[in-house]
């Protein structure tokens, strides 16, 4: 111990100061994240009378449950693709527009965060309902004769999902485009590339980290969100519904925990693949 390499006094001071901030945060993380996770894992691996078992996980391997997992992944996938197709151009133009426009567009992205997603989705529900504003307008314009039944369709669920998560796509895309040096695009043009070619060869690869980050940030919560599908109707059953039902209706906490663990591992797996592909740390690890 006596031979322990001494830190430079300034470095040591810095280390102490850093510890001042990191130690409490680490304690919070252990208390609020790690402990509950361990508890859930414990629940998942035990029976009601405390015996260790893998039965809860085996119980998930049922065709109907697996289908629910598959449906959740599918919905998350569509949500991510649509968010990307809308969010990237939005983020791009936000980054490329003048200061005033940029501020305005940024406000549009941020304002929804001021109210609960739940409230906003009820707003959409009113807009879309049988004799809601959208149907009324379409009818008065003579475009449709009978009310369209928006609610309950897969499309309405997708709309709600994209609506709630698209800012998670816009912000990283915007920041990636904002950071890019557009002299590079000029260089590509100068070397003979038409605008679209310069975009594909230069802008797209250089903003790929933003795209990947956005995709992870949209996809991961998409897999777990179920209340949007519930509100929009249509009886879509997602992993979230399954877990909630196990916990609150069937009251099988052990089964519910096992399902939660599977969901956590799935999303963590996606994140790890993303990191392996060279993705930014998203401030997670």
């Amino acid at each position: 111990m006596a031979h322990k390499k001494a830190l430079h006094p300034l470095k040591a001071k810095e280390a102490r100061r850093n510890a001042l901030f990191t130690v409490p945060m680490a304690c919070l993380a252990v208390l609020l994240v790690a402990l509950p996770l361990v508890y859930v894992l414990g629940m998942a691996l035990t029976t009601a009378d405390g015996q260790l078992t893998l039965d809860n996980f085996k119980g998930i391997l049922r065709a109907d449950y697996l289908l629910v997992f598959a449906n959740s992944m599918k919905l998350a996938f569509y949500t991510t693709v649509i968010s990307l197709l809308i969010g990237y151009p939005f983020g791009y133009f936000m980054a490329r527009s003048g200061r005033r426009w940029k501020a305005l567009l940024m406000l549009l992205v941020i304002i929804p965060f001021w109210t609960s997603a739940l409230v906003r989705i009820y707003g959409w529900k009113i807009l879309l309902q049988g004799n809601g504003p959208i149907n009324t307008v379409l009818k008065s314009l003579g475009i449709i004769e009978k009310n369209i039944k928006f609610l309950g369709s897969y499309g309405s669920v997708l709309l709600a999902m994209v609506y709630c998560l698209i800012s998670m796509m816009i912000l990283p895309c915007h920041s990636a485009v904002d950071k890019m040096d557009f002299t590079l695009v000029e260089a590509a043009r100068d070397l003979g590339s038409a605008p679209w070619r310069a975009f594909l060869d230069v802008t797209l690869p250089l903003t790929m980290p933003g795209i990947l980050a956005g995709c992870v940030l949209v996809f991961v919560p998409s897999v777990g969100i179920f209340y949007l599908a519930d509100i929009m109707g249509g009886g879509l059953v997602l992993v979230g519904n399954l877990i909630r039902d196990q916990l609150l209706k069937v009251r099988d906490w052990h089964m519910g925990s096992a399902m939660s663990m599977v969901l956590i591992v799935l999303t963590a797996g996606i994140y790890l693949v993303y990191r392996r592909a060279g993705g930014d740390d998203l401030g997670v690890f």
């Binding site: 002299t183 260089a187 590339s193 038409a194």
Partner: protein, 362 residues
């Protein structure tokens, strides 16, 4: 008459905050090395961007090899640019950067490979083909940027302060290399710099810009020896400028009087008339200080300081009018005038320039 490659005709540009370029015209011959020289914000980069097509002129035309390029996008112009920041694609290695233009043009693989190899040899970077731009030093990136722009064999190469980010020694070395490269390839260069020494060293012709206009276009010698305006005289080289009235003209010698005294200049080019006010520019290295009055000159002054400048001595002289002049002498420091000494300034009349004199006489 050499063939005109590029012709800028009455170009004007305004970004909405006052004119950046006002009615500039320039003709560049094939194979020529033309430098746009000026302080920052004088419009030189805008001029270059209008030639490359990255910017469009509000008025005027850009003609290249007799073809009107004014409305063509940059990708359709046989012109390439070496950007100030190099603008190498950070996600492509050196080889791919150099190959990029050829690939876009749709050349076949063998041609691209051969051409890239040739270009990397040309800039002595063959060993770095697989490196990423981030792994290169500033000077190396510079070479790659040049190789990439030259790979397409442009008719005209535009260089936007290409050596601006390099340290002095590397800068000097690259100046020589660039000039050699240009001669060897016979490509027309339009070169931007704010460094007057660089401009004088490298150019066939210099175009001094100021406030969106061309102040003077000429060979480095013309710019140096016959400045058309006070600005050009001050911007290029070190000099003392005298403003005075013509007292007498006798053949080629004109005697001019100002608040410091009187002096003689060669009036053969300037065609001065008695009573006229004129400005005379005397280069520091051509100004002499003598302990005794010299015929034709009456410019006494007090020595403030003598400084060894490596091979010569610079004497700072406070003139009668209150302004300071710097004279150069080849004596040794020990023999130089001491502070407080009275000296008499003079020069070879043929080596002083009447500002705007060349246009006077024409």
């Amino acid at each position: 008459m050499q063939e005109i490659l590029l012709s800028l005709q009455h170009i004007s540009k305004d970004f909405g905050e006052g004119p950046v370029l006002s009615d500039v015209s320039l003709e560049v011959a094939r194979g020529e090395f033309v430098t746009l020289l000026g302080a920052s914000g004088c419009g030189k980069t805008t001029t270059l961007r209008i030639i490359s097509g990255l910017e469009t002129a509000d008025e005027g035309r850009v003609i290249l090899s007799g073809q009107d390029m004014t409305d063509l996008p940059p990708e359709k112009r046989p012109v390439n640019t070496v950007f100030q920041s190099y603008a190498l694609f950070p996600h492509m290695n050196v080889e791919k950067n150099v190959a990029y233009g050829l690939k876009v043009r749709g050349e076949d693989k063998a041609t691209i490979k051969a051409r890239v190899k040739e270009m990397l040899e040309l800039v002595q970077m063959s060993d770095y083909a697989r490196r990423m731009p981030a792994q290169l030093s500033g000077g190396q990136r510079q070479r790659i940027a040049i190789a990439r722009a030259l790979a397409l064999q442009p008719q005209l190469l535009l260089l936007d302060e290409p050596l601006g980010a390099l340290d002095l020694q590397l800068r000097r070395q690259m100046q020589v290399e660039l000039k050699r490269l240009q001669k060897k390839l016979g490509i027309t260069f339009i070169y931007i710099t704010h460094d007057q020494e660089e401009a004088v060293n490298m150019s066939d012709r210099i175009c001094v810009m100021r406030g969106g206009r061309f102040e003077q276009i000429g060979t480095p010698e013309e710019i140096y020896d016959q400045p058309m305006t006070r600005y050009v005289a001050q911007f290029i080289g070190r000099s003392t400028i005298f403003t005075g009235k013509v007292k007498s003209v006798n053949g080629n010698a004109a005697v001019i009087e100002d608040e410091n005294g009187s002096f003689t200049v060669d009036a053969s080019r300037a065609r001065l008339t008695v009573g006229e006010t004129c400005e005379v520019c005397v280069r520091t290295e051509r100004m002499r200080a003598s302990g005794t009055p010299v015929d034709g000159f009456s410019l006494p002054g007090t020595v403030r300081e003598a400084r060894y400048a490596g091979g010569s001595v610079e004497t700072f002289v406070l003139m009668a009018g209150g302004a300071e002049a710097v004279a150069t002498g080849e004596e040794r420091m020990a023999d130089a005038a001491k502070p407080g000494d009275t000296v008499y300034l003079y020069w070879n009349p043929a080596q002083a320039a009447v500002i705007g004199g060349a246009s006077h006489g024409a």
